[in-house]
Symmetry: C2
Subunit: 636 residues, 2 copies
């Protein structure tokens, strides 16, 4: 008999050599039906593998990360089996599970989109046939005989250090594989092939080019449909596409990784800064404008020269090395140190929108999300240790206000604690972590603890966001730092008349404004809240005779501070409306005979609300209210 311990701590005895499937059945038939594999002592295994010693065991289903990996692994075999059915001369090479699904590389002529459709149909047949998937250990010699027609597999077999290799068989298809796999092909109920691309054997361009087919699979058709929908949505919302279409942003080969914000994009960018700036005024921050190019002496003092140099753009000026700043913190230390501080002067909250440069590899650059030049709504709070909790509370309030209340994102918090290599003694860390935890509690924010995940220089609060498509992002930061104030000797005189070292809190709310722009364009699908819309309202005339009245309306709205466009062309109203909708203008005013005579407006919103006979004063009031509240939805 062996003893099996389950994730809930319960223990049960089984005959030695029982399989995962048998254990699952002993718990519940339903569980056995849903099982994809098992974790034995934390290692993923086939359900059919006999368990011969005492072990911890977890039945893995589609709900587990490991379950999805098993499903997708089997999906690659199903794909390879289908390809072999249709293209007998295609040689399968390797087929791993990757972040976005799975792929398999074949030595074959390029596949056409039509081929993919045929392969998918063939895969469905294999799933329907519900072949059992069988594992077998064989000697390397046997394996070499089995795969004698496939030089890629032979190369792989030669590289195995063990004397035996494992193979998996399903129907007429056998593959060299470590596993584990689903018990049978019928469980792979929702597979979709995504695309085909060229790829070199072992990613080496000196080798032969293979054909890589990408696929995705889920346990249910519904999940696949949802996934494809999000993909479709993300494609439509792609900020690079919308950025061009709405004249928000452009890129140019002469400035890789550095966006050009155009007419409409710059309006939004500047509105965001103006908004955060207003909050700074309310929340007691002092904004500064700082240099970008610093002598390497600054970076030597901060430690960046030693640890971060390859990410900085270095320039030699009059024989001395300088660098464009990749972050603001060291320059804020210089500013803090411009005068001596007493304990009564703290906290000092220094904010800075100045732009930063990081030398990312050109190959990794992508739209607004991976850039070389960006700005942050960055601030550094210099405070006493006894002020940390209150300051962090203030930062958490700021972040929640902007992300949840203004922009309507879902937010998750976690607290990252002392890592193995940490600066400062444990007592200091314990106190600081306690203050962060207390701040999270006082703010009534549920949070997870990430043990040992803090930076070497201090604990931090991680903030995860979820956008309208359910995608995860990390933008804001709130991070304690005992290191920089030490390196720069940022001190204050305490009420004991002695010098003490200040604590520094790094914090950003929107984070990189460039990344935020990209994220927000996609989150709102280019349909921005009224306060951010580059053009807030457009006035369209039915005929030339309405131009005078329309101009009066325009002047009054411009005078009230709104961004107004007009369309007085001799085109039909439906055409003008269609174009305004394509430009994502939130409010459209139509002016015809009735409106001119009665001194009213016909107003429609981008999402189709229409209101006739509206007074201009009423519309102005509504718009003012929507802008002041920074409302996401436009209601008239």
């Amino acid at each position: 008999m062996i003893t099996i311990q389950f994730p809930d701590g319960a223990k049960k005895h089984y005959t030695k050599g029982s399989t995962g499937m048998e254990v699952a059945k002993s718990i519940a038939e339903g569980l056995a039906r849903e099982a994809y594999g098992v974790l034995v002592n934390g290692m993923p295994k086939d359900l059919s593998v006999p368990i011969t010693t005492d072990a911890t065991l977890k039945i893995v289903t589609a709900k587990d990360k490991e379950g999805i990996e098993i499903l997708r692994h089997t999906s690659t075999h199903i794909m390879a089996q289908a390809v072999r059915h249709l293209f007998p001369y295609a040689k399968p090479t390797i087929g791993p599970v990757v972040e976005e699904g799975f792929y398999y590389d074949f030595d074959h002529e390029p596949f056409s989109p039509e081929d993919l459709v045929k392969i998918e149909a063939e895969m469905e047949k294999i799933v329907k046939a519900n072949y059992p998937v069988e594992r077998k250990e064989i000697s390397k010699k046997e394996a070499k005989e089995l795969f004698k027609d496939n030089p890629y597999k032979l190369e792989l077999i030669d590289e195995f250090e063990e004397g035996t290799v494992s193979i998996y068989r399903q129907g007429d298809f056998t593959d060299l594989c470590r596993g584990p796999h689903l018990p049978s092909t019928g469980k792979a109920k929702a597979i979709k092939l995504m695309k085909v691309a060229g790829a070199y054997w072992r990613a080496d361009s000196k080798n032969k080019q293979l054909q890589r087919i990408y696929g995705i699979s889920f346990s249910e058709k519904k999940q696949l449909q949802e996934y494809l929908h999000v993909l479709e949505e993300a494609k439509k919302r792609d900020h690079r596409v919308l950025g061009k279409q709405l004249d928000l942003v452009m890129f140019h080969e002469f400035a890789p990784g550095a966006p050009f914000f155009l007419k409409n994009g710059a309006i939004i960018y500047n509105e965001l800064i103006a908004f955060i700036r207003k909050e700074y005024q309310k929340r007691g921050y002092e904004e500064v404008i700082t240099p970008q190019l610093y002598n390497k002496k600054l970076w030597e003092q901060s430690g960046h020269w030693e640890h971060y140099k390859e990410n900085m753009f270095v320039i030699t000026v009059e024989g001395e090395e300088h660098s464009l700043k990749p972050m603001n913190c060291p320059s804020h230390c210089l500013i803090y140190n411009r005068s001596t501080k007493s304990y009564r002067d703290l906290p000092v909250r220094i904010a800075d929108f100045c732009c930063l440069h990081r030398n990312e590899l050109s190959g990794t650059l992508s739209g607004l999300t991976r850039v070389r030049k960006f700005s942050q709504d960055d601030a550094h709070i210099f405070c006493r240790m006894d002020q940390v909790e209150e300051e962090v509370l203030g930062v958490l309030d700021f972040i929640k206000y902007i992300w949840v209340e203004v922009f309507g994102f879902k937010v998750n918090y976690s607290l990252s604690t002392r890592p193995q290599k940490a600066l400062g003694d444990k007592a200091l860390w314990d106190r600081a972590e306690g203050m962060l935890a207390e701040a999270l509690k006082k703010a009534a924010l549920p949070y997870q603890i990430k043990e040992g995940d803090g930076a070497f220089y201090g604990p931090k609060i991680d903030i995860d966001l979820e956008d309208a498509l359910g995608r995860k992002w990390q933008c804001p930061t709130c991070q304690l730092d005992f290191n920089l104030p030490k390196r720069f000797e940022c001190m204050y005189e305490g009420d004991d008349s002695k010098k003490h070292q200040a604590v520094m809190i790094h914090r950003a709310v929107l984070g990189s404004l460039e990344r935020f722009m990209g994220l927000m364009i996609e989150h709102f699908s280019g349909k921005f809240p009224l306060w951010l819309s580059p053009v807030q309202v457009i006035i369209m005339t039915v005929a030339d005779r309405h131009e005078e009245y329309a101009t009066k309306v325009k002047d009054e709205l411009v005078g009230a501070g709104f961004r107004v466009d007009t369309d007085f062309r001799s085109e039909s109203i439906p055409k003008k409306v269609r174009e305004a909708q394509l430009a994502h203008i939130p409010l459209m005013i139509t002016v015809g005979d009735k409106e001119t005579e009665q001194n009213v407006l016909a107003v429609r919103t981008l999402d189709g609300q229409v209101k006739f006979g509206m007074q201009l004063s009423e519309l102005k009031g509504k718009m003012q209210m929507l802008v002041e509240k920074r409302a996401v939805k436009v209601e008239i």
Copy 2:
């Protein structure tokens, strides 16, 4: 007889050998009394020099630039004479007229400030003695005999190419000199010695160090007093001093030439940008935000790589040279070219506050006026040739509005025309110059013409400003460019369906914001208009019991969008007022028993107006009006 022609064109006959003094007397005794020298055929000469041929002649007085030079030249001799009286072993070397007055270098022990006072007193005696100043031509040999004790003069004599040299004698002092000079020392009525400094003979540190005494002189004591007053004022207003005192700006050795705008400086900087941005909205500009680092390919296309490379900061990125942009124009050409344009799309006015870097030598850097990093309120107008006049008119209106109406500077205009080496044919230039002239005329702005002073790529309008101290500045620009649109092929489709090249207008209103900040700090002596003041109003309590009411007042003013400070300390009102005055806060509210009971305010301005029993609503209204009007003076 000889014929003398005067500046007004009149001609008169004189005996051959008549002197300038005789000619002056023949015109008017008064003129002869005021005469400092003459211009004979444009060359400055002594009044005593006989005129032996037909010539043009101008009597030079203190009103002429050449007159002031003659006066100061004689002033150096008076100084040297006085030094010799007091320090017989001092050896005079050279004593030229320079931009800010004159100096004389002596081989002698360092002079003390007390020495300067003594020398000045001795100079007054020399002036009073009214020695005639006599010129004499002597042979080099005679000269060497005369100056045999002075190796410096001997070295100079040896270098003369002519066989004879001229000497000037006044009383007991003779100097080697080309002249010309005043007829007698009595005419130098207002001389002041400024400072003494070390200087090497012939500016070569291998030579002996001499003592350089600096001085200034005017024709009248009153002018000297005014000059000294301006100097004193400028010193008090120095933006580097006020910048530190008012927490506006700091500099750090780690970032030479790049200012840090602090709490108060950044508020002003951002208010300026917000103001210009509002004007952009009214005046049809589209603002963009652009990269800073560009591949050298951009600069090769623009021509900067060839002509401006040494002024650019160059960085190698992934093996290719890039540079920080020193100006915005080329990037705006890329933006213009992002889409094809029709003649109806023009003008396109692209504005940009992004920061620029120019690699100035560290030795030339100074405060905010000579920097390496700066931003401009820079814009480029792409238009059709037939739109130039209207666009320039718009630019002139913009400049006049900001500089004259808002900031109260005096402005002078000039039109710089086609230089010798010019791009584009003469007809194009003529048309463009005509349009600029026409715009100046339509704007009713008097202007001078600077023949041939345009840039090679187009004519321009120069705008000179005069600040509160009467100092001259050049900040705004308005410049046509036929070159860049050609290099970047910035085209539009005309109504003839053919491609045409756009014309570009470079224009800036404030110019460099950094330089403008420096200029404005000095112009206003740190006492900024209300709309720009970092703290607009401070509320001071007489005693603790007034804090509640004071806080209510504060909240209401903050709510109305004002920048408010409070001083609730247990200090006397006179002390609080004094500190607020030192911080240059334009409005001070005092709150005591009477104010709290009657729900009113005691308000005083920085220039000493006081108003008791003021209603908060009245003050708010006044402040709003002052901010909206951007009033320079605060009246309550």
